[in-house]
Amino acid sequence: MKSSKIWTIISFEFITRVKSKGFIISTLLGPIFLLAIMVIPGIVAALSMEDTSKKIAVVDQSGYFLDKIVNSDKSTFFKSDEPIEKLKQQVLDGSLDAFLVIPKNIDSVGSASIYTPGGGGIGLVEKIQSTVSEIAREKRLIDAGVNKSVIDLVEKEVKINTVKVTKEGVQKDYTEFYSIFGYILGFMIYILMFSYGALVMRGVINEKANRIIEILNSSASAMEIMMGKIFGIAAVGLVQVLVWILMIMAVSLFAGSLLPMFINQPEVVNLNSMPTPAQSLPFEIPPIPIGTWVAFLFFFLAGYFLYSSLFAAVGSAVNQEEDAAQLQTPITMPLIIPILFMPAIMGNPDSPLAIILSLIPFFSPILMTARIAATTVPIWQIILSVALTLLTLYFSIWVASKIYRIGILMYGKKPQFKDLIKWIRLAK
């Protein structure tokens, strides 16, 4: 009897929401939105990189550098015989981005000058610095009578491969990729917890404001109504995430078979006993351990239950959505804090700061998931954070159900935080 009531509530919450236009639209547009968030910065970065190839005039008083500099990047550098004063004028009126002056005695002074209208970005300066230095270094070697073949040997670049040591042996390390992936997973959990938690809160407020709650409560207990709503919306969230994952997999499969036609395959680095990355993509995607996905699902659900129970408590206390803002702050703060710490933690996921913050139950869903994706988290830390999160979850549902039971029947003046504490004591 008891379980069938909560089941009725779960199915009603689930079906009415899944059938709604809002759900269908957000499910279909979600990945496009997510893709845009991930792709647009890339495109912007790519565009701005090309943007550093501004038009730069080269005035070479030494006579050695000009051709070499121009040849290094013909789209950026061009030869100029105009007097410096005139070039300055052109920079001022904007017809020229910058000009580079190589002094006659560059070898003895060891410096050249770039004239810009101010700024220009670090990318521009670095680019010129490395181009000019390289040529100057080569010239000095030649001047010192070093053989050309020796110079080539010296100039040859060394590529750094990061190799990860595991029990199973060495494997290529994808530190950077895993860091970004951890960031994305943490951020996704944040968005999911926030949006679905708010959905629970709005649902509770709707039932209270429209006076449905008393009818429900005469049929089922407050606990059944609250948990039914939380579970029902959790199911909606799971369906949405699942649809997204399937859509992303389908798109990447399609894109994976399509992209290599346009972009050259990357050089495949051969190291022994290295798992083969997905090679059809233009960039390497290393295998994602199943444990990361398990952690993602666990912490998404645990975090959702933790926060949505608190959101439900706040929703039960207020009479309309506008009144919720103030009471919501204690919930939204611990949601936002991990996002603020995320860059620092992803920069060094094994630091004491990262370990401590990721063990705090209200932060664990975001930070522990991100760390698990980014680095090898010791098993004791995972077990500890799971235990702490579950304990906090149990406590938060206990507190929330007490506030909820009283709150749904309270109309009238806008409650303060201290009223909620009073209600916890009042509810037996």
Binding site: M1, K2, T8, I9, F12, T16, E214, I215, S218
Partner: protein, 305 residues
């Protein structure tokens, strides 16, 4: 046999006693009036009976069973403040409320359609609540309360929002349910409806009983002390009546309290001198007056303490 038996019920909110040592019983198959001024503790009492609130002490027995969540399926409750999901279709939410009362979806669907037709609302099944007028929504609300055939039906101001025609319709439905054995607790401020419908009543104020019993007995106890005279003439006889006894007076009608039949006869004797009497009627006091009398006395008693 009593369907509801409450003994020594206490419910406190902080230091305030919303229900203060209340004992009562409701017999099966009656319409029971639960009356009292605003803030008397009616809603709290109903919420205790429907297991929405939990008492601090005392006992509630429904059909001889101590109150428990399982009993919720046998109770129908129409709260004073109504509400439905605005965005959902009529049939969807009726099915939902029915299922919450333990019906299967199919049963709930069939009963919902049956009841919608009965209240004159067939054809509304696929409408959303926001598309309905207030009165229409009230009917849907009523259906949601009765579609699981409750043994005990609690109605809080069931006629508010209805026009006279629909009020009549709902009254007839309530009487029909009574004849089929449903026990109904009616809470309302509309005293003439209590007089029309209720068999027994209980009046509370500040969480305590101030009056209870069979409606007929109560009225008899208050005596047939109400005199109405309608007349054509100078109306001079009115000046000989103690002003405090007069309840209502117009140019050709007077309503007053009397202490005895002899007093009525004396007034009639005076009246016939210069007036043509068109109506002379000694009545039981209306419940409205008993209500005001009892409540103000209980407030006086409270103040004296």
């Amino acid at each position: 046999m009593e369907i509801l038996k409450i003994s020594n019920l206490i419910k406190k909110f902080g230091n305030y006693y919303a229900v203060d040592n209340l004992s009562m019983q409701v017999n099966e198959g009656v319409i029971f009036g639960l009356l009292g001024p605003n803030g008397a503790g009616k809603t709290t009492t109903i919420r205790l009976i429907t297991n929405i609130l939990f008492p601090d002490s005392g006992e509630i027995l429904i059909m001889g069973e101590k109150i428990n969540p399982g009993l919720k399926n046998k109770i129908g409750y129409l709260p004073e403040e109504r509400g439905l999901y605005k965005k959902n279709k009529v049939i969807e939410q009726l099915e939902y409320f029915g299922r919450l009362k333990g019906l299967s979806s199919k049963e709930a669907n069939n009963r919902a359609r049956f009841w919608l037709e009965k209240v004159g609302a067939s054809g509304w099944e696929t409408k959303k609540i926001e598309e309905l007028s207030k009165g229409m929504a009230q009917k849907v609300q009523f259906v949601s309360t009765v579609l699981h055939n409750p043994k005990l039906l609690i109605l809080d101001e069931p006629f508010s929002g209805f026009d006279p025609i629909n009020t009549e319709l709902m009254k007839n439905i309530i009487l029909e349910m009574k004849s089929q054995g449903t026990t109904i607790i009616l809470s309302t401020h509309q005293m003439y409806q209590v007089e029309q419908l209720c068999d027994e009543l209980l009046m509370i104020n500040q969480g305590k009983i101030v009056l209870s019993g069979n409606l007929r007995d109560i009225k008899k106890q208050y005596g047939t002390n109400h005199l109405i005279i309608e007349f054509e003439g100078d109306g001079n006889f009115i000046h000989q009546i103690d002003n405090q006894k007069i309840i209502d007076k117009t140019s050709n009608r007077i309503e007053l309290k009397i202490d005895s039949y002899e007093e009525a006869q004396l007034i009639l004797k005076n009246a016939v001198i210069n007036n043509k009497i068109t109506k002379f009627d000694i009545q039981e006091p209306p419940l409205n007056e008993i209500f005001i009398d009892v409540v103000s006395k209980s407030i006086e008693a409270q103040n004296e303490k």
